[in-house]
Symmetry: C2
Subunit: 465 residues, 2 copies
């Protein structure tokens, strides 16, 4: 009986127990953003720590941080072999509006081969798969083909502030050859995807102030620069009519998309008309001269995330408001630096500030540099092979317009390749009511992870970007 036949038998025999355990994990309402859930967070971390020990990990520890604890464990019994650092998170998003959930978010329910619960896909379900992959290998073979460090945090959904500090302070403990994260979706059912590029992020809030108090537009119409008018001028100045961002220097460190990548993008099965229909917009929009995929993956973007001022209730109020506000974030690519972009953005805002209002700017703490990884890196190619062996198709190599802050931190500190090998689906209502996880990908994913360990055990390449 081969190594994989033994694993296969183990997974089948233990499936019911595994699903019961996962549901236990999902019952813990580990919402990191709500201080009322602080005890649940500890409860979830302790549950994880027990599971790590049961699986056979050593030096398992609940490490306190300034916020929610980090769970760490390791198995370093494969000297000379690759060391994989597995990162995931046990915290989940809030669940409101509760009324939209068909079954309660913390009462896991299986329907039609899908497990419904907050965190089932993002990311407790996928973290749990790594636990069970280790448990299976240790049970069936007494060892792992690679060295494994597991590092599961509790603040991913709130920006990983304390986690970033923990990583900086624990570089020796966390040192590895590969960072493996399962927190991204397949491209679509049956079609795995490896994410080799993430965008960076930076942003700020604009607070405009006009008159000292709200004014009656009858008594003061035509006297002052209405802050809402001023804000609309400033915000519209950020864009060219063709969708390009009008901030001076914004594109200086953006590289043209290579011919090879352009060709690869064009091969991705992707339909702009279907997307437009799905989103319900009369037309798609973005930087002129680029496809939707290019814009979302490889071109920087700027979005106004919020804007407000004055009267928002029903009906009419003839007020000239004293204040106007907006929140702006940029998604960055290539060599764009969050600090540098914020400086350019601020310079632009000051340049376009009408002289009748004053402005204050508050930068968001949440910053991340862009990240891309060579797709020919052996750590990535090993993941591709593992997917191929279990899903029966080669994965797509794709990028994503989103940001996972720890990825860039790890990459910057350790210069290690980051393998984003996830098992969710884009349709699984992550961050929304009725989050769920398809059990077919739970099953296949367990096998993919085990395959990956084998494929990545010996790498013939030096870590690289």
């Amino acid at each position: 009986m081969s190594h994989f036949e033994r694993l296969e038998a183990f997974f089948q025999e233990n499936r019911e127990r595994h699903l019961q355990e996962l549901q236990d994990f999902l019952r813990i309402p580990s919402i990191s953003s709500l201080s009322s859930h602080r005890e649940n967070m500890v409860h979830a971390a302790e549950w994880l720590a027990r599971q790590l020990k049961t699986a056979g990990m050593k030096n398992v520890e609940l490490v306190p941080t300034g916020g929610h604890p980090v769970v760490y464990g390791e198995w370093l019994g494969a000297p000379g072999k690759t060391t994989i650092l597995i990162y995931g998170h046990y915290d989940v998003q809030p669940v409101d509006p509760l009324t939209l959930w068909e079954t309660p978010p913390f009462e896991p329910t299986i329907r039609d081969g899908k497990l419904y619960a907050r965190g089932s896909a993002d990311d407790k379900g996928q973290v749990f798969m790594h636990l069970k992959a280790v448990e299976a290998l240790m049970t069936c073979t007494g060892e792992l083909p690679v060295n494994v460090k597991m590092f599961i945090e509790g603040e991913e959904e709130t920006g990983s502030y304390n986690t970033a500090a923990f990583i900086e302070a624990n570089q020796e403990r966390l040192a590895a050859d590969v960072l493996l994260i399962s927190d991204t979706p397949l491209w679509e059912a049956g079609q795995p995807a490896l994410y080799y590029g993430l965008k960076g992020l930076c942003g700020l809030q604009i607070d405009l102030r006009g008159p000292r108090e709200d004014l009656h537009s009858g008594f003061y119409g035509g006297t002052v620069h209405n802050p809402l008018h001023a804000l609309s001028q400033i915000l519209s100045s950020l864009f060219e009519p063709d969708g390009r961002i009008a901030i001076e220097g914004f594109y200086d460190k953006v590289k043209p998309i290579s011919a090879a990548e352009k060709t690869a993008f064009d091969r991705i099965p992707y339909n702009e008309t279907a997307m437009q229909k799905q989103l319900g917009v009369p037309n798609l929009f973005g930087e002129h001269g680029h496809t939707v995929l290019e814009r979302n993956w490889a071109r920087p973007t700027l979005d106004i995330n919020g804007m407000w001022g004055g009267f928002q209730e029903e009906g009419i109020k003839t007020v000239i408001p004293a204040e106007a506000h907006a929140k702006i974030t940029c998604r960055l690519v290539d060599e764009q630096d969050p600090e540098e972009i914020l400086m350019m953005l601020e310079r632009h805002l000051h340049t376009y500030l009408p002289s009748g209002v004053t402005m204050s700017i508050t930068r968001f703490n949440n910053q991340a540099k862009p990240y891309t990884c060579r797709i020919d890196h052996p750590a990535i190619q090993a993941a591709a092979k593992a997917y191929q062996l279990t899903y029966g198709v080669s994965p797509l190599f794709v990028r994503i317009g989103a940001t996972i802050p720890v990825v860039e931190i790890f990459h910057r500190l350790f210069r290690l390749p980051v393998v984003l090998m996830g098992f969710g689906l884009p349709s699984e209502n992550v961050h929304a009511p009725n989050e769920h996880f398809h059990l077919i990908n739970f099953d296949t994913g367990l096998r993919t992870i085990c395959r990956y360990y084998d494929e990545v055990a010996v790498m013939n390449d030096s870590p690289s970007s």
Copy 2:
């Protein structure tokens, strides 16, 4: 003992009682906008009706409307003499934030010669003066020098919808030679002002819709036209850089300010630097080529009164919101017609609507045409003389950027001159916490009103605009 000596004695002897009665009136919390205050509204109207009868008015009636009742009374015992229609309102603005009131809004208090209470200046205090002027004349002389109709409504602060219908339906009953309203301030302490021009009003709400749901700016950045960006484009397109309104045709029916009026404006004691300081803005702003007074009084304006969409809480949320909203109102002058201006505005909005979003527009019901009156009209000149006789200085002839909807309705239906002869002060916190009324103007105003009856009793002019 002359007619005026008798009145003087009466006002002095009855001052204490008058102030007690006024405070009784002010104790009734007649907030028209709050349905919980419906009974208080009736209570205030009944209080007024009793006072009208006591003063000697005939045919006193509480007339039900679709909303709060109208109070009507008349004295028509001066055949061949001028008929004055006195209009005022017994409803008041809401009082929040309550914590900012030094004494409770409905517990009238006299401090430093000022009567503090909601409604003391706007408009219960001034309505009460008309009651007491009639009472004094009837008591001292047994008659009035003119015919008087009093028409006090309870919905001025909520837009006078039902009142407008009442006026349309009661044209015969309300017919008069002059409409007299005391609901405007003096120019400053000791300096009365006659308002000969009011602006018109119209407005609408814009609702922009982009994607069906809020989108994650990582997964969808660069794919759709962000509705907040689209809104900022549309709103900023409404203005030229020099502050002119960019809507095609907007100024077509606006007349240049006449040389005579320009000269008159320039004589008004008015300091732009002081105004800028008072408002706390780095610079004043408005249509290029016009002074602040010209812009506020004689040039049309457009204001964004509210604007909102997306995330407004603390911190960051990387969302592309599904919706964006704004409220816009225009203040109109001369021959500008609210319906016509709304059509032009809507045409502009559709012209500048980006193709990636959809828009719906909702017009506000609140519309008013602009109003101006010849200042050489005998009804106005009589008011000037009355002010001169009691305040010892000639009133300033001024305009105002605000709107009193009933003024234009009366003017349109009856083609009668409207005399805006008020006794408040601009500093009396109308619509704000700690509203108050200077008793010096209560006293002087009572005498001014009596003087006005004498001066306007016989007019040598046909009613005119």
